[in-house]
């Protein structure tokens, strides 16, 4: 049976910073030597990888020592990202995900693990990240990680939306729009009537991104009723919706929306919006008959 590597000793081989004992710049290890260390840790299996993960401390943890363990974890993530190393990637992601629950690591350190999962995680770690959505200190980075993973995350985000608060609700609504999965349409349409203006605006953008013709009236109404920065943002969602409708072949709906937008922007200060709608209309009708 092969001897398990001494993970702490391998980690300590990472080069010292320019000015040891201080916040400092570093030159990085020799790539070949680093690759050998990463391979030794992988060869030690789950036990060695978990030893490494448990050495990681965030800089704001009281027992933070240096950058080395987190850097080696990232090195493993990079090496597992190479084509053909799917087994190692899944193993590593699963072990990182296992440390998102429990008291072994601080919230700051868990945030670091989520950051690594954003790079290497797949569908198999979605449940662990979804659980993090209910933890106020982890919800925001977990949303971003899920959005990077994409596969199978829509239902989890919708579930989390029910209990999410404040900015996190905005983040979930925006993520649902970027995922663009039809099952999210009802919750996004409902969010157009949310009491939080930021959620309403985010929902308009997401529905525009998804090309939801059924929401055109509500989005235009939102834009026409908005002022200041919100007005330009909401007007943008109308133009975006028209573009996605055109892309989906729904030119009649796009034309109607653009004409109503154009006709509602009569102030000189909004001439550029009128011009933008007009340009889009002309693009729909090559002979400029809009």
């Amino acid at each position: 049976m092969a001897t398990k590597p001494n993970v702490a000793e391998l980690v300590s081989q990472m080069p010292e910073v320019d000015k040891p004992g201080t916040a400092s710049k570093f030159t990085g290890p020799d790539p070949a030597a680093a690759a050998k260390i990463f391979a030794e840790i992988f060869a030690g299996g789950s036990e060695s990888i978990l030893q490494l993960i448990d050495l990681v401390k965030a800089p704001d943890d009281a027992d933070f020592k240096d950058y080395k363990a987190a850097y080696v974890v990232h090195g493993l993530v990079l090496s597992a990202g190479v084509a053909g190393r799917e087994k190692e990637r899944r193993q590593l992601a699963g072990l990182l995900a296992s440390r998102l629950s429990g008291e072994k690591s601080s919230a700051a350190t868990k945030t670091y693990f989520i950051q690594e999962l954003q790079a290497c995680g797949g569908r198999d770690v979605v449940p662990a990240l979804a659980r993090a959505l209910s933890d106020e200190s982890l919800a925001e980075p977990a949303t971003r990680a899920l959005l990077s993973i994409r596969d199978g995350v829509g239902p989890e985000l919708q579930r989390a939306f029910v209990t999410a608060k404040g900015r996190q609700r905005v983040g979930i609504v925006l993520a649902l729009g970027q995922l663009a999965e039809p099952p999210a349409l009802p919750v996004l349409r409902e969010s157009l009537r949310d009491e939080d203006a930021a959620v309403r605006l985010a929902a308009a953008w997401s529905l525009a991104k998804m090309g939801d013709a059924a929401s055109a009236e509500a989005i235009l109404k939102l834009a026409n009723g908005a002022t200041g920065h919100e007005r330009s943002q909401a007007t943008h969602t109308c133009l975006l919706l028209a573009e996605t409708l055109v892309a989906a072949g729904k030119t009649t709906e796009a034309r109607q929306l653009l004409m109503r937008l154009r006709d509602s922007r009569q102030e000189e200060s909004e001439r550029f919006m009128r011009d933008a709608a007009d340009r889009s209309l002309k693009a729909l009708q090559p002979h400029g008959a809009a």
């Binding site: 704001d60 090496s79 950051q115 200041g228 943008h236």
Partner: protein, 410 residues
């Protein structure tokens, strides 16, 4: 289309005649329209967003427009913001109808979002380099510029000089002719990329946020990290959250004339390979060289000269008329010179795109982003310049379009 000189510049003048001396400090003498001064009808209302470091220099690039600086905005102005002339939140600046032009000199993680929001609010934009923090942001800026018919100019001007240089013009004609395939050209940028100087710190323990700084707004679309002074005020360059090291900061300068001269303003490299130690997840660090090859074979090499083995795979080589056969040479000699570039001020007046327009700036900074992504992933990458996606590399693609912290999005 007539230049959109702000009628509210005049209104500002009327208001400012009764205003305090403090206001006059923001309103140059020419606004008052005295003898020998530009009258207010020929000025534009302007704002500077991001007032540290390059801020004043970037604003000075508006000079051809006779700008009246009506607003200054910076997240470090919590202790002095009055939401009249001094702001912390750019959204309040963009709401002002008397501002036609914005100069953006924030750290780069804000460049795309503020540029897009400004164009959505009807402003023309002069944005400090690097244009963006990641690839998808650049495409979104290009789209916004086209959608709203706004002028965008990147704050680096190397291509303007190249466009007046006879050798560069000849090179561009040869490159754009498509007659060289495979293309033997190799451009090597050796040194001058400030790799160590603008790398970040590791082992940095969090410190209290200064009272005058809106740290949450500073972080904006990037992760909300604990504050450390090295992440702010120029040294932000050393962190992936805000920029991309010296390569990103100096790279757009270095590549701006190259991208024009070699006719690569509408495409991107297809193969990228780097020589570097494993990257740190948050801190921009050291690297040796990056080789970026275009579909026609033309190659750009970025060599830091600060780490690792010397680059010796290829030798720098321009493209020449002698590379073509007689018919090819005749074709190049019959090709008219490119149209002269116009600068930002002329672009604002004429509504024609300036030399450093959004697409050109995006394609130029893409060279740098691709180089950094090869450094960050540690492997050879293949890129599709049309889809702007990596081929067969999921991890790299996750860095092409990085999810932002809500409520920010592109």
């Amino acid at each position: 289309m007539k230049p959109r000189f702000s009628p509210l510049s005049r209104r500002h003048f009327l208001a400012s005649t009764a205003a305090s001396l403090a206001t006059i400090s923001l309103v140059p003498r020419h606004v008052l329209g005295g003898a020998g001064q530009t009258p207010p009808s020929e000025t534009v209302g302007a704002a500077l967003i991001g007032c540290g470091g390059r801020g004043p220099g970037t604003f000075s690039e508006l000079k051809g427009l006779n700008p009246v600086q009506l607003a200054r905005c910076d997240v470090k102005y919590l202790d002095r913001a009055d939401n009249k002339t001094i702001y912390t939140d750019f959204r309040r600046v963009l709401e002002r109808k008397d501002i036609d032009v914005v100069a953006i000199a924030t750290p780069p993680h804000w460049h795309a979002l503020i540029s897009i929001a400004a164009m959505e609010a009807g402003k023309d934009v002069l944005c400090e380099k690097p244009m963006t923090r990641f690839i998808a942001e650049g495409r979104a800026v290009v789209d916004a510029s086209r959608r709203y018919g706004r002028i965008f100019q990147i704050g680096t001007f190397g291509r303007f000089g190249a466009s007046k240089d006879r050798n560069s013009i000849l090179t561009r004609k040869i490159m754009k002719s498509g007659l060289l395939n495979p293309n033997p050209g190799v451009y090597i940028k050796a040194g001058g990329l400030k790799v160590k100087e603008w790398s970040g710190l590791v082992n940095a323990k969090p410190e209290p946020v200064p009272k005058n700084l809106d740290w949450d707004l500073y972080c904006g679309p990037s992760p909300l990290r604990p504050f450390h002074p090295h992440r702010f005020g120029g040294t932000h360059r050393g962190y992936w959250d805000y920029e991309g090291g010296g390569l990103c900061d100096m790279g757009q300068h270095a590549m701006d004339p190259v991208s024009w001269t070699y006719g690569k303003d509408d495409t991107a490299p297809v193969e990228i390979e780097a020589h570097a130690p494993p990257a740190h997840p948050e801190v921009c660090g050291m690297w040796g060289w990056v080789e970026l090859k275009y579909a026609d074979g033309f190659t750009i090499v970025l060599a830091s000269g600060e780490w690792g083995d010397h680059y010796d795979r290829k030798t720098g080589r321009g493209v020449k008329l002698e590379d073509l056969d007689e018919a090819g040479r005749a074709k190049i000699q019959a090709t008219p010179d490119p149209e002269p570039m116009i600068d930002f001020a002329e672009a604002v007046r004429t509504r024609k795109q300036p030399g450093g327009h959004a697409e050109a700036a995006h394609r130029t900074v893409c060279i740098i982003h691709l180089a950094n992504l090869a450094i960050r992933t540690g492997r050879k990458l293949r890129f599709d310049p049309v889809k702007e996606q990596f081929i067969g590399d999921e991890e790299a693609n996750r860095l092409v379009n990085q999810p932002m912290r809500a409520p920010w999005h592109i």
